[in-house]
Symmetry: D2
Subunit: 233 residues, 4 copies
């Protein structure tokens, strides 16, 4: 991901690349480089030390590293409280299409009796369902509940184990794993006489770069913690 | 459509059916019935007289009849100006999924370099593209323009006539007509390494009824003219 | 289904309807009517008596009734052995598109490392997966085995119960149930760098009629038992 | 493509790579190497000289180079007539999924009133429709004609230029060009109450290699000219 970000920043109008650090490089270079925004695609192990250093040095951050729970987010908020001019964007997904899919799925969920998710990935993926599918299902479940929708209609009385998928909230989620696939998700919403389907196909990591650039451009004018790229869209 | 509306109103919680008129029946029945909202699925020829009568008698209206141009809308606004407590909803499409598809397509259009529409209908349809596809393309074209997007990338130099579809604004629209289809539309948005697809399948007129009910519930608290069901969503 | 068959036979070139029986009507009418072919869409309880009578009276039969196991098929074969000029077609699915989908899925299965099935139905369906999906998966599993394919690639180590679907043979089958759907199935085959998807959408029982007519036309020249409409295609 | 073939041959059981030539290398190396099969992904300009040399030296050939017309094929047949033990496979598409899609589309075409093709490619493609789509449409048109099918049902009376696509034979073909796509094709077949859709997604050139290996394994036992990978499937 690092080299993709380097290419994307270099070719983005109005941005210039002032430093590119690899594992083990000293963070002090960032301070000296005059960087206004740092993009962090590292690991859950190193991201917290990076964030503490950057926030305390007044540098805005766009974070694509995963693994943030409430405890970690609270720490970040603490550092930001002490440095109120700094902005940090933490986003679980930088693919603009995926962010929109989640937003649309959440918005539509309140209007349809039925809702299911099918996510399809390459066979090397170790977890099922995908993080994006689980997150989408949680948002949709909450939207259904807030709208006062009851349980989904389902007359199934005889079924093979697993046929009706896994349940995240009250949304069945089905995971397909097949050679030839990359990363895909389909949200199916059904009502009387109609269905609405929202599908995202991600074929290439290059697809995350427009979202990273959008994050860089916006984080400088949004001090504090922003969680999710949708807040900038 | 009339009998579908009757069934839908009768089974909707909190609503009661007080009158059902057919072609040639006197509108005075509506006044006597105490109707708060009238649903009009008639014809372009009769809808204007109906609206004038209903508005002047203080009855709210949900209109599914087609064929409204600027001249007709101006007339309706005039009648409403003289009866400021009355609400009128005029909606080109009551399928909630179709309304959401258009809203989402318009919102997403600004984020993607490429955008095309495929609409698929039964072979008895006389116009191509469909009204819904044309409307969607207009909304998307305007959104692209407002966002400062340039022309769509397309290196085609050799092509058969019609291969690249028709153009509505700067959106190519492709119309499929096949036995076995009912009414379907797919909006494809493409950016670096990803695509987002929004698809609506309408299999049955019953699919319009949740939208009609939504319109009835909301029009009473929205005096004046409302154009498009999305304003109530 | 009965009235659909009546309409279909009446409008098929070269066929004429000579009798139409309902529950409780005497089978003797069929003998008197001079029927060459009888179409049976009845129930598992009554179909066997019908078949015995018809075969013994030299009348060909097209059977759409479900619930045939090996024991029942053996009985039918016995009656046919004693009446060698009679033809009987027993078909689990008369939708030509569904029959082709199964044939294509079976043929393609030997060429791809990965194969999964998603079937999508209205929420009143009581069984999951559908009979068609199970049958398709069995055919594909056998084809994979015959071609010497090993187990499907799947690195999943962490998963929610049911996420990876149910297994029929070595094919994961996922069942979606949603309002607005009718009867749909998608077979996904994946190999290095490519996927092949075969999808059938059945929107209306009228879709079974071309298959019934095809069965009627062919059963008269195919004495003995034919199992599956594909044998006539 | 060359380096993909090298990798594929090296990792295929029972095959060994004995030579790998680039532009300008002498063909004599192939004779000396003891190659039983040569794979040619070169250019329309050089492929004919390669074929003449290889056939005359008793070496079988798998050809992925494009641009073969009747005149060129006749020449190849002439060289093969003089060397009757040599086999040559010329294939316009080595993606097994694409080959199966074409075969299935041709087979299914005779059973459905309606048939259309949508092909979707990246925006750098210069021709529309794609060669694969045109070839599929030709096969389907011929199958429809052979089955005695009449013109497709289509009541369109008002349409924008291009809305109904281009026509190859009597099949409408629609070409979508969008960033984020690679190479995709969808064949839609429609009959009373049902549709059958066959879709191929090609995401990576690696997807051609299983077909190349299949060609290598089979060409040695099929002397003479074989046109199309489907003959070996």
């Amino acid at each position: 991901m690092g080299s993709e970000v380097v290419k994307a920043v270099e070719s983005a109008e109005g941005l210039s690349l002032v430093a590119a650090l690899d594992l083990g490089d000293s963070l002090d270079q960032l301070k000296d480089s005059g960087a206004k925004v740092v993009v962090d695609f590292t690991t859950p192990d190193s991201v917290m030390a990076n964030l503490e250093f950057l926030i305390n040095n007044g540098i805005n951050v766009v974070v694509g590293t995963t693994g943030f729970d409430e405890a970690k987010l609270t720490k970040v908020k603490g550092w930001l409280a002490a440095n109120p001019s700094v902005g940090v964007l933490i986003a679980p997904n930088f693919a603009i299409g995926a962010v929109l899919m989640m937003e649309f799925a959440e918005k539509a969920a309140r209007y349809f009796e039925s809702a299911e998710i099918i996510e399809l990935h390459h066979p090397l993926k170790v977890d099922a369902p995908s993080g994006t599918a689980s997150r989408t299902a949680e948002l949709m479940s909450k939207a259904r509940k807030d709208a006062g929708l009851g349980p989904q209609p389902d007359a199934t009385t005889t079924s093979l184990d697993g046929a009706r998928g896994s349940k995240v909230g009250d949304i069945p989620v089905h995971s397909v794993r097949a050679r030839g696939l990359v990363a895909h998700q389909e949200v199916i919403l059904g009502g009387l006489g109609e269905t609405l389907t929202i599908r995202h196909d991600s074929l290439d990591r290059a697809g995350f770069m427009p979202g990273v650039i959008l994050g860089i451009r916006n984080v400088v004018s949004h001090p504090g913690l922003t969680h999710g790229l949708d807040k900038f869209m």
